[in-house]
């Protein structure tokens, strides 16, 4: 697809030097302008590492292969200076815990203004004025007063709004949101989801939205990508993935969450634990926990097959 804003192709990441661990493997997907791709999975499945790889923030020592193209530009192998200029400008990211991502000794207004001074060479006066405007845009009342506040003086929800204001300051083409609502209460989570949808509608940016919560992912995504043990298990349009999940892991994830509308006596469970990537068994990483697994699953890693709806499972047809 040539229209893709972001094209990731066979991305793999190995961390460590002496005894490297492959924590991302064979990740390929496209992101279209204005679209939200929801990435879901449990801890250690590679969601955050995918985001860091896109941002060029994978911790060293590491070995990254494959391709990440932003429009016509290849990001892998680009020198750090050019990469740094893209960060914040064309690609921006917000994190789970805004308290650790914000500088505690600088007012939030100055932190937002810094983005504009660095990336757009705006004058301090102009940047400060624009920062207040941005705070207003992300729904912070009395924005000019709040711009003078330090992060600790704001509530968790407000800090996340400040992070979002910083992220959209340079009108990025892609916003990467890594568990942006996980540390928040449900009522504030709903506010932040509304804000992101609203900003996306207005600015037309694409979003890569990472969450362990299938509920949150379901409410914000156009497409859903389910990851497990560093690989894509299933990827497709949100309604298809949720209504006709084909990978046993996706189905397990959906069934295992208590549903207020349909209470069942005993919840279906996914037996066992998320695997340790260091002692990875051959074959499909989900096989040890999979109710459908056959001998072949334990021997070969299933390829990700399909077009609009892709699944990596030898038993996909059986499961469907």
């Amino acid at each position: 697809m040539s229209s893709a804003l972001l094209a990731v192709d066979r991305l793999a990441v190995e961390l460590g030097q002496a005894d490297p661990v492959r924590i991302l493997d064979d990740i390929s997907f496209h992101l279209q302008p204005g679209q939200t791709l929801g990435v879901v999975g449990e801890s250690g499945c590679g969601k955050s590492m995918t985001a860091l790889a896109l941002m060029g923030l994978v911790p060293t020592p590491s070995h990254i292969t494959g391709s990440i193209r932003l429009g016509e530009t290849e990001l892998l192998g680009m020198d750090e200076e050019h990469r740094r200029r893209l960060r914040g400008k064309r690609l921006a990211m917000i994190f789970q815990e805004p308290m650790t991502a914000l500088n505690p000794v600088v007012t939030v207004g100055a932190q937002i203004a810094e983005m504009l001074e660095v990336h757009e060479h705006a004058s301090t006066t102009l940047a400060r004025a624009r920062a207040v405007e941005l705070l207003h845009q992300v729904g912070i009342a009395a924005a000019s007063d709040r711009a003078q506040a330090y992060p600790h003086q704001l509530s968790g929800g407000m800090r996340q709004r400040v992070m979002i204001a910083m992220a959209i300051a340079c009108r990025p083409e892609i916003l990467i949101a890594d568990e942006p609502t996980t540390a928040l209460d449900v009522s504030v989570q709903a506010q932040i989801l509304d804000l992101l949808l609203e900003l996306q509608r207005r600015e037309g940016m694409a979003m890569l939205f990472i969450s362990h919560s299938l509920g949150v992912i379901s409410e914000i995504s156009d497409e859903i990508m389910v990851m497990y043990a560093g690989r894509i298990a299933e990827h497709g349009p949100a309604t298809t993935v949720l209504q006709h999940p084909t990978h046993p892991y996706t189905r397990g994830l959906i069934e295992t969450i208590p549903d207020i509308a349909h209470r069942v006596k005993t919840l279906p469970v996914i037996a066992g634990n998320v695997p340790n990537l260091r002692n990875r068994a051959p074959g499909c990483a989900f096989a040890p926990r999979c109710p459908q697994a056959i001998e072949a699953c334990r021997q070969t890693i299933p390829p990700l097959e399909g077009h609009a709806h892709r699944v990596a499972c030898l038993r996909a047809t059986v499961a469907a």
Binding site: V188, A190, L193, G215, V216, E219, L267, V269, I270
Partner: protein, 326 residues
Amino acid sequence: MTAPILQTDALSVRFSEGSGLFRKPRIVQAVSDISITLSAGETLALVGESGSGKTTFARAMLGLTPISAGTMRYDGRNCTEMTHHERQTMRRAVQMVFQDPFGSLDPRLSIEAIIAEPLRIHRIGTARSRSDRVVELLDRVGLPADARRRYPHQFSGGQRQRIAIARALAPEPRVIIADEPLSALDVSIQSQILNLLDTLREQTGMAYFLISHDLAAVHHLADRVAALYLGRIVEIANRDALYNHPAHPYTKALLESVPRIGTGKRTPGKALPGDIPSPLSPPTGCHFHPRCPRASERCSVEAPVLATIAQGHQAACHHPIIEPPA
């Protein structure tokens, strides 16, 4: 109805903050006038957002935080008037499971020592019988017997939470107070622990006092639910009444903000506005009125008291959402 095991009557907890030589301390009313009962075999859940006072209330029930006003009773006995022996009996009968399975287990103790600790403290059994009991408890929570020789760091989060549950079960409690027992766990592990808690309740007839912000998990496990806002109970009812016919606008808003799977992308504009106010300067009248879509003048002046809406269903609201049962 059987006599309650635990009962609080207008229980309040106040903290003073920032007192200095010449400065008047500021009073934080963390929990105000909470009256609840917990009977044998039932599960009562306390829901609310962070800062609502859930954990403070649980700690007060366990005697870990001093009560400022009101009473707490165990088997009808006022806890402040208990003899040493009575207090020991209560401490044995009311056990706790914490949120963080990494912080709540002593890393230097073997699993056997961790699970047997309450038995040793309460002088239950001999060393030999305690060892047998540990194996039995491990089996009850779905862990192999050889786990007892190992240490907490050798287990995953879900396994550690099973160990914490085994420890709580050891002295055969009548009540387990569980403070966010699922929130540190992966979703696939949460359902395993929910099922375990459900099975144990059936096997033992224990009561649970469950504290959680996860409304879906609460719906799965609880018989009755109390919603807390800034230290006050705003609504309490049987599970189905509360989820199907919430009377308080806060409860309704909380239920509506739970993300649902498969209902499509959300339509912005329905989120509850604002943040939970600081308990240092709570709003006048009804604490919820600045965020409430139904608020009137009266709400900013007069604090509503819990009033009966239907049998077993109470709400503290001047303008409750009247939704008669279909």
